[in-house]
């Protein structure tokens, strides 16, 4: 399953812009228009001991989304090998992860940053539909 990481996209765009500054400037109006139309949907997910809220989300295959992750208590993990997501959710700021699922099915995301005695069952489900 291919997943693009939003932060990487931003970095790549900035690097490209640095290398081709003039061309970007000329193309800017058209690029802004395209970005407005393609703005990915943002889904907010909150972590706290020992649950994610919501505990289940549904995504559409091929449709990019941004998962906006935040924690209301302490650092948590957000990890799914099949979805190729592996990040920490810090306690003091939100973390954006861009996802474009290309396989339908149910996937489990777990907290893999140990957070206490109920940590072992801290998980959520991501359902990807056609």
């Amino acid at each position: 399953m291919k997943i693009s990481i939003f932060k990487n996209k931003i970095v790549n765009t900035m690097l490209l812009a640095g290398a081709c500054g003039i061309a970007i400037a000329f193309a800017a109006p058209k690029a802004n228009l395209a970005r407005a139309n393609d703005e990915p949907k943002v889904i907010e997910i909150t972590a706290k001991k020992f649950e994610f809220s919501p505990a289940q989300i549904t995504l559409k295959k091929g449709e990019p989304v941004i998962l906006r992750l935040s924690s209301s208590d302490r650092v948590h993990g957000f990890m799914s090998k099949p979805l190729k997501i592996d990040t920490d959710i810090p306690a003091d700021k939100s973390e954006d992860v861009a996802v474009t699922p290309d396989t339908a099915g149910d996937f489990v995301v777990i907290c893999d940053h140990y957070c206490g005695t109920g940590h072992g069952n801290m998980k959520m489900k991501v359902t990807v539909v056609e």
Binding site: G77, H113, Y114, G116, G120
Partner: protein, 334 residues
Amino acid sequence: MENKFDRRSFLRVSGTALSIGALYSVFPALTRKAGAAEGMTRTLAELNGEAPAPFSFMQLSDTHVGFNGPPDPLGTKAFESAVATINGLKHRPELIIVTGDLTHDADSPDEHAKRFKLFKEISSRIGGAQIKVVPGENDAALDGGDMFREFMGPTHYSFDHRGVHFVALDNVSAGRPAVGTEQLTWMKSDLARFPKTAPIVVFTHRPLFDLKPEWEWFTSDGDDVMNALAPYENVTVLYGHIHRENFHQAGTTKMYAARSLIFAFPDPATTPQKKPAPFDKAAPFKNLGIRRVNGNAYGNDLQIEEVELATAEFSGTVGMDQMLKHGSNDAKDE
């Protein structure tokens, strides 16, 4: 130098039927030829100051001292039973390794400290054996291993025992399932002095491969560890965390998980949810026991001896004594 170790005779274990703890017999490269044995002995002695000799050791795991169920209302009884059983063995092991989750995590540091003290008190009843431990996430993931170091010592280290090199690897105290660059660099440096055929035992808490990532049965940089170990031909990895037996081989590296001393997890291949096996009042130590493997200096003709805990009737101290009846039947519990 590399051919002086006989890889076939290095480490013989009892296959996939390890139990309460697993007793391993190690036969480091002893040969029929006295001259060859002397030469090999000299080589090992130069490398690590340890003369090779047959020996046995036992792995215990996941004692979770302080856990009081459900599903297991017996607390430390299985751990204490294991200790008493070890002490009752005719040929007692001279080395015990414990692969993490010595204690069950506690919200209060004071309570967690009590659990470490209790672990030390119970394990100290094992007579005549060195005890070497690594942390599990319950021991060390919340405070970066500070309390573990205070009570048990460093979270990673190495030592030599009768010609075998042991590496204790910490894949929990980073908070996440990870070994980390610093420790990996240390391990590579630690192993660099050994020939590729040297007998090496790595013991750690979590599996170093993707056994079941959605149950957190993995180590995120486990591939880096395995790549670092890959050039060595006689590596055995012993771990815990999954509360059940498992065998996995990558290249020549063999990896064995031990059962816990608190409760069992089900087979992830047939069970959708990570949920402890229910407590069986009629057989409270079901699946527990000790498998002992005895060998000879040539590394073949192994003799397997089972020590089974009898648990039909027990209560209090007298009951504990009743439980420790040594049987000769194989544990048919898997």
